[in-house]
């Protein structure tokens, strides 16, 4: 049996996306949307149809949607563009973000800090949250941008983005508010209240890889990112990936149409999964249990290392991921797990299981059964585990 439990990493292409893409990968679907002849105009129409569908699914305006190559590009554009605009608007060089962002935000923020921006990285509580008061208090006269992750990719916590951005705008309406909503869009209803910039990625909700978008609120003179032939209304040049964009739009539309049912089904399965996993001794959940992505379950296990669990599960046909040091190629475990206050030794034992409705009860039960045996067998090999007593060694 094969059970894919890494939907937060990427999702399989949905049938709606596949069917929407196919005509643009075959026959006369190759036209360059900037040209003047029939097949080019067809491509241009398809592009704008896709933009309209995306706008409809998100309840925003079509002219607020800018297609990109994905989440990383959109995050890069949002941060670099906002800081460029901040400087033009009167020496605003301050950027606020959190310690639990995706690297596509954190690495860019650090890069900007090396080039003269002032960076505030807000700490989070044990569930991975920042409060509206905390973020507003960090806003200064020279703050250009606040960038917060909508829903955390490692621990599933959803932030009250609307409340936080309202508090920021109440303090200074000129501060731009960006959210990396890569894990949220297509999975939960996303509020654009107070949002100036929003990142999302196609392959997280059944669309193709290499596709994404940046939402830019109408009226913001936001700078271009890719300079060239003037595509995407002069802000993001590059011949449009019509097949990819059509796939993204179809997947998002399907996700929006089925969201309520899909969320309920997925959350029920996730709760079944969580209950089963928490029956394993010396294991606890990470992230917010209430305000949480429906398909997201994340844990830490005492006395067993995360990569070992992931490899052990893979042998049994279960695909999962871990924020252990070993999966990052450094000696440090995930920055998110350290930021929520886990000690290094605990953070090394992390596991993330992200499912969707297609996982089914059978898939969930299979994961629980295999995970239980993998953890037990690997603990039996661990010097940190007392197999006779069935608990971690008192003191190592």
């Amino acid at each position: 049996m094969l059970v894919y439990a890494d939907h937060a990493a990427t999702s399989p292409l949905c049938k709606e996306a596949f069917h929407a893409m196919q005509p643009w990968l075959t026959a006369n679907g190759y036209g360059n949307a900037s040209a003047m002849y029939k097949i080019a105009l067809d491509a241009k129409c398809r592009l704008e149809d896709a933009r309209a569908a995306v706008a409809r699914a998100l309840s925003v305006l079509p002219e607020e949607v800018y297609f990109t190559s994905g989440g990383t590009e959109s995050d890069n554009w949002a941060l670099k563009g906002a800081m460029e605009l901040g400087e033009l608007r009167g020496n605003r060089r301050h950027l606020i973000t959190t310690a639990v962002e995706h690297p596509a935000v954190l690495r860019v923020a650090e890069w900007l800090a090396k080039r003269g921006c002032e960076l505030t990285v807000l700490p989070v509580d044990t569930l991975g949250r920042v409060s509206p008061e905390q973020v507003a208090a960090a806003v200064r006269k020279d703050t250009a941008l606040v960038s917060l992750i909508y829903a955390n990719n490692e621990i599933g916590t959803i932030l009250p983005i609307g409340d936080i951005f309202a508090a920021v705008k109440a303090k200074d309406p000129a501060v731009l508010c960006h959210t990396d909503a890569v894990q949220a869009v297509g999975h939960i209803p996303v509020s654009f209240s107070g949002v100036d910039l929003l990142t999302f990625s196609g392959h997280k909700f059944g669309g193709p890889k290499g596709t994404g978008a940046l939402y830019i609120r109408k009226g913001i003179p936001f700078p271009a990112f890719m300079h060239g032939g003037g595509h995407e209304r002069g802000r993001r040049s590059g011949t449009e990936n019509i097949a990819g964009i059509a796939g993204l739009a179809a997947a998002l539309q399907a996700a929006a149409d089925n969201m309520e049912r899909h969320m309920a089904d997925t959350a029920a399965l996730r709760d079944r999964l969580t209950a089963g996993v928490l029956a394993i001794p010396y294991c606890r959940m990470t992230g917010d249990t209430a305000c949480r992505l429906p398909g997201h379950a994340s844990f830490v296990f005492d006395a067993v290392e995360g990569e070992t669990i992931v490899l052990g599960l893979d042998i049994e046909g279960v695909s999962a991921s871990s924020g252990s040091a070993c999966s990052s190629g450094t000696l440090d475990p995930s920055h998110v797990l350290l930021a929520i206050g886990l000690p290094h030794e605990t953070a090394h034992g992390s596991l993330r299981l992200t499912i969707d409705a297609s996982t089914g009860a059978e898939g969930v039960d299979y994961i629980i059964s295999k995970l239980t045996s993998v953890v037990a067998s690997r603990r039996a090999m661990s010097p940190l585990w007392d197999d006779t007593a069935g608990k971690p060694v008192e003191r190592f």
């Binding site: 006395a303 990569e307 450094t330 000696l331 440090d332 030794e345 010097p383 940190l384 585990w385």
Partner: protein, 145 residues
């Protein structure tokens, strides 16, 4: 990312556990960095007659410990001390660059166990074993902060 040999040793590790009448015990690594190896040996007449390991760590840490026990089992102390991290990597048909430290840990675990054997007999292991991976420099190397 791992060779078939690494995955074979990860899936079916050899010599797991603790030697009951061990007279040489070496523990290296640090829970903070996510790798700990504990190697227990029975040494008689300068020959490692039995060896077992327990490891907390990634797939490479498990595989390097497992193959290290195979490389030293039945060997003389002299031959066991000649097992380098490079030999461990070669026996596993390669390790990703980020995992080379696991092979170093395996070499250190062997040395730490043998050093313990000498210490128990009141013999200073340093001239024989060299670094026993139990000095402040070693510990700081394994602790990232």
């Amino acid at each position: 990312m791992y060779t078939d040999k690494v995955m074979e040793h990860f899936s079916s590790p050899r010599n797991v556990g603790e030697v009951e009448d061990a007279n040489a015990v070496g523990t290296v690594g640090n829970p903070k960095c996510g790798d700990i190896m504990k190697m227990t040996m029975r040494i008689s007449d300068d020959v490692i007659t039995d060896v077992k390991f327990k490891t907390f760590g990634c797939g490479a840490a498990v595989a390097t410990s497992s193959i290290a026990t195979e490389l030293v089992k039945g060997k003389s102390i002299k031959d066991a001390l000649a097992v380098t991290n490079t030999a461990v990597v070669e026996a596993l048909e390669g390790l990703p660059p980020a995992k080379i430290h696991c092979s170093v840990l395996a070499e250190e675990a062997i040395k730490a166990a043998i050093a313990d054997y000498y210490k128990r007999r009141g013999i200073d292991p340093t001239p024989i074993v060299g670094c026993d991976a139990d000095c402040p420099a070693c510990h700081s190397r394994h602790a990232p902060d």
